[in-house]
């Protein structure tokens, strides 16, 4: 069976610095894969490359048997890859509901005339967009529903902003979801709740998930597979237990035992 997404020999160079090199990676339908590594290892660059925000220097990215190299970010989203951002990036002046509605842009089609003439097709589509948005928000229980619909996103608490960002990614109706540090900055309770939600994203919504995460408990609890990056190079791959005992990984995180200055 072919992979949902496959990355071959990916190399990204920023003016002489190899942010990523020799990265081979694949994710299968229904998997949850974590990408870990110390700061500056190239994890977010990896996401940026997949979503078209950065052009790879070498290599190929294949999604559903087609290369997505060179596509614009919105085209990548249209094919079914959605992402969240490490430093939550919502549309702060738009309401909670609007944030989710706007994410369905690539799944809808009405333009100026429909809106001006209020055609039945336009009204139908607007209604569907709104219903789908509410359905997505209902996934987070009572946190983002009711009076929250019309609140601007900037009034939300930090944890709710993170949730809303995941909801926005869900609303693009993706097959593959890229979560960039979904629990960063959350307290242990919120982290536990979100860990469970990530599991449900797969079981209930059928998303395949690739996740960057620093919280090792979350990584242990949800991932089928873990990939470790260091200085843009993959240094280990496997189950959580395999990776967490790998000496290369421990060295990357904690450094080499001191053997004199070099």
């Amino acid at each position: 069976m072919s992979h949902l997404m496959e990355i071959r020999d990916l190399k990204i160079t920023f003016g002489g610095l190899d942010a990523l090199s020799g990265l081979n990676f694949h994710v299968d339908e229904g998997e949850i894969v974590s990408v870990i590594g110390p700061n500056g290892a190239g994890k977010t660059t990896f996401f940026n490359a997949i979503t078209g925000l950065v052009d790879p220097t070498e290599g190929d990215i294949i999604f559903e048997d087609e290369s997505i190299l060179g596509l614009d970010p919105h085209q990548v989203t249209g094919l079914g890859i959605a992402r969240t951002f490490q430093n939550v990036r919502l549309f702060p002046n738009m309401t909670v509901l609007e944030n989710i509605m706007v994410a369905q842009h690539c799944r809808t089609s009405q333009l100026i005339l429909g809106a001006l003439l209020q055609t039945s097709a336009f009204k139908k589509e607007e209604k569907e967009i709104e219903e789908r948005a509410k359905e997505v928000l209902a996934f987070f229980g009572s946190r983002l529903v009711g009076y929250r619909y019309d609140q601007p996103a900037f009034v939300l608490s930090y944890a709710n902003r993170r949730r809303l960002e995941i909801a926005r990614a869900m609303a693009t109706q993706p097959r593959l979801m890229l979560l960039d540090e979904p629990v960063a900055g959350m307290n242990p309770m919120e982290t536990a709740e979100l860990t469970a939600l990530i599991g449900r994203l797969r079981s209930e919504w059928g998303f395949t998930i690739v996740m960057i995460e620093h919280d090792m408990r979350v990584v242990r609890d949800v991932s089928d597979r873990v990939v470790v990056l260091d200085h843009g190079v993959p240094i280990a791959q496997g189950s959580y237990d395999e990776v967490s005992t790998n000496p290369d990984v421990i060295e990357a995180y904690l450094g080499r035992p001191a053997e004199g200055q070099g």
């Binding site: 002046n93 706007v102 690539c106």
Partner: protein
């Protein structure tokens, strides 16, 4: 740190507290100095003399004097204002604030006295054109230097006191007084509109008694009006807020019905009122409408999609020239003399194409770069129409004249009949408002907002940002071209110099001052700025301001950006956000300060070798 703590501790006991800290003295010095600077500057740019002919209250107050007198008032108010910080107890305002206001006024007045002496004794007319005997005459009320100097000191102290008293008197009184004051000012400023309207209704006898023959309210009537407005303000206290809350609480169909009634009554008023207005007022309204149309278009581009277009006048020009070429028999190269309605279709198509052509290269840029490039395109379009190269087609600097009005069969809409022009403009404005309103709540409108908020994320969320931004450009271009078409039909001619860069800037100021991204804001902005101050060439109600218009536009823009970035009528959300940010910043700053103190305390403790570990923990 410790000095402020002790001072606030000791001064909290007494009611009257003199300015004690150096900080407060320097604040008074700073605002007093600013007061002097502003007074002298305003005098020397010729405002008092230039505006003296416009009388607000006959024979006491002219616009010229007002242009000076507001300065000590505002400075006195600013100097005694406390910035409220969460968690910091601000002392009850009282004698100290009054004293600060009076002292600020005193500095201002003393500065003015020195200025008057200088005016009398030196002649600096060579570099400073307004260093004139007229100015001296005006400043001394024609009663000699000594009287003038003393009067200014007294007046400034008094005004400084009044300004600071705003913060001291109870809120109810403050409200009534400020309502009377601004109500009176409105009556005085809107004199032209009000007497015109009352003439239309056959109520001249009323305005004839309210306003003096040479203009301005009479003293008796200004007192009567002030009392009346104050009374109304007292009676309606809280009513307006309650009505607003009631309206906000309405749900579903009731809400719909209420807003429909509101809408219909406003629409009826705009349709009926011009029938009772004279030529000048209708002309003014038509101008406001033309600029409103432009501002609504720019609001889509800047306010919704966040594209800072400084060359918006280009589309205004394209609409104007297309109409002129297609309708005027004097068009030099190609003169099909089409009807306005047919022209309009072509104008829309043409403006759309020009929008695409200019937009395509520009739209990929961001922020500052985009603003600069659009600025260039705006000028290029004007220079093209002006050029010798295109003179055979567009008439160069002489432009195209003899553009016919809009022939509707039963009436010809022409500039000589401003009322009909107003109705034509009204139709287009209604259309533009409808377009803005519907698009705002559509898939495309949401995409525009997302792009404004964060373009990169919008793209990552599946929005084709290039296409969406191009569409915003095109819609804006079409609305501007409507305005151009109507303007040309109204004026009957078109010249390249009607499309100076200034037009773009003024429309942008209208949008910003009114409230970006908000239809109501743009409406208010056009009425206040274009209606009262006037457009680039069109006089407003205060046509005396003509030569100071740009200065006031600039000052207003700076003030709004600093104090009220959300505009006069903010969209509810935006204002929340901007002030939220301020609040958060305060919290953050306080946190920072706190951390620093802790850090210092730690250092201190470490230096002391840990012998006094508890020192400084009280901070």
């Amino acid at each position: 740190m410790s000095t402020t703590m002790t001072s606030s501790g000791s001064s909290a006991a007494g009611g009257f507290r003199a300015p004690v800290t150096d900080q407060e003295w320097s604040k008074i010095g700073k605002w007093g100095g600013l007061c002097v600077l502003a007074l002298v500057l305003v005098s020397l740019i010729g405002m008092p003399v230039g505006l003296d002919r416009r009388i607000l209250i006959h024979p006491v107050l002219s616009l010229g004097y007002l242009s000076l007198l507001w300065i000590p008032l505002v400075m006195g108010s600013v100097v005694s204002r406390h910035i409220e910080l969460e968690g910091v107890e601000s002392p009850e305002p009282g004698g100290r604030e009054l004293l600060a206001g009076a002292l600020t006024g005193l500095i201002g007045g003393a500065g003015m006295a020195v200025f008057i002496l200088a005016l009398d004794n030196f002649n600096l007319r060579d570099p400073l054109v307004n260093w004139s005997p007229q100015l001296l005459e005006l400043l001394t009320y024609g009663r000699g230097i000594g009287f003038g100097a003393l009067a200014w000191i007294l007046a400034c102290v008094l005004l400084g006191l009044v300004g600071s008293a705003i913060h001291v008197v109870p809120a109810g009184l403050r409200r009534v007084v400020s309502h009377s004051f601004f109500g009176l000012l409105t009556f005085a400023v809107l004199e032209g509109a009000i007497s015109d309207l009352s003439e239309g209704f056959g109520l001249e006898f009323l305005t004839d008694s309210i306003y003096a023959k040479r203009g301005g309210l009479t003293v008796v009537w200004s007192i009567v009006l002030a009392v009346l407005i104050g009374g109304v303000s007292m009676l309606t206290k809280g009513r307006l807020k309650a009505a607003k809350a009631d309206y906000g609480a309405l749900q579903g169909p009731e809400r719909k019905r209420a807003s429909r009634i509101l809408f219909v009554s406003v629409a009826l008023m705009t349709i009926i009122l011009p029938l009772f207005l004279g030529t000048i007022m209708n002309e003014l309204l038509a101008n406001v409408g033309l600029f409103l149309l432009l501002a609504l278009g720019l609001n889509i581009v800047v306010g919704l999609a966040g594209i800072l277009d400084l060359g918006y006048v280009a589309f205004f020009a394209v609409g104007g020239y297309t109409t002129a070429v297609l309708t005027s028999p004097d068009s030099p190269f190609f003169a099909p003399e089409l009807h306005f309605a047919v022209t309009l279709v072509i104008v829309v198509v043409f403006a759309g194409i020009v929008g695409l052509v200019i937009g395509a290269p520009v739209i990929r840029m961001r922020g500052d770069y985009l603003a600069i490039v659009t600025l260039g395109f705006g000028e290029i379009i004007r220079l093209l129409f002006m050029s010798d190269w295109l003179k055979p087609y567009f008439g160069g600097a002489q432009g195209i004249t003899n553009v016919p009005g809009v022939d509707l069969g039963f009436v010809v809409i022409k500039g000589t009949d401003p009322r009909s022009v107003f109705y034509l403009v009204l139709v287009f404005c209604a259309l533009a408002i409808y377009i803005s309103w519907r698009l705002q709540a559509s898939r495309l409108g949401r995409a525009w907002m997302a792009i404004r908020e964060d373009e990169k994320v919008a793209e990552a969320m599946g929005i084709n940002t290039v296409n969406a931004k191009l569409l915003a450009f095109v819609v804006g271009a079409v609305l501007a071209s409507f305005s151009g078409a109507v303007m040309v039909a109204k004026v009957g001619s078109v010249f390249p110099n009607s499309f100076m860069i200034l037009v773009s800037i003024i429309i942008l100021v209208v949008v910003i001052v009114g409230g970006m991204g908000n239809i109501a804001g743009v409406l208010v902005g056009s009425f206040v700025l274009i209606g009262i101050l006037g457009g680039p060439r069109q006089p407003g109600l205060l046509h005396e301001f003509q030569s100071f218009k740009l200065l006031i536009y600039g000052a207003l823009l700076v003030y709004m950006m600093l104090q009220r970035p959300e505009g006069l009528v903010p969209s509810a959300r935006r204002s929340q956000e901007l002030h939220q940010e301020e609040f958060l910043q305060d919290v953050w700053l306080k946190g920072e300060e706190h951390e620093q103190e802790e850090h210092e305390a730690e250092l201190h403790a470490a230096e002391a070798g840990g012998s006094e570990p508890d020192e400084g923990s009280g901070s």
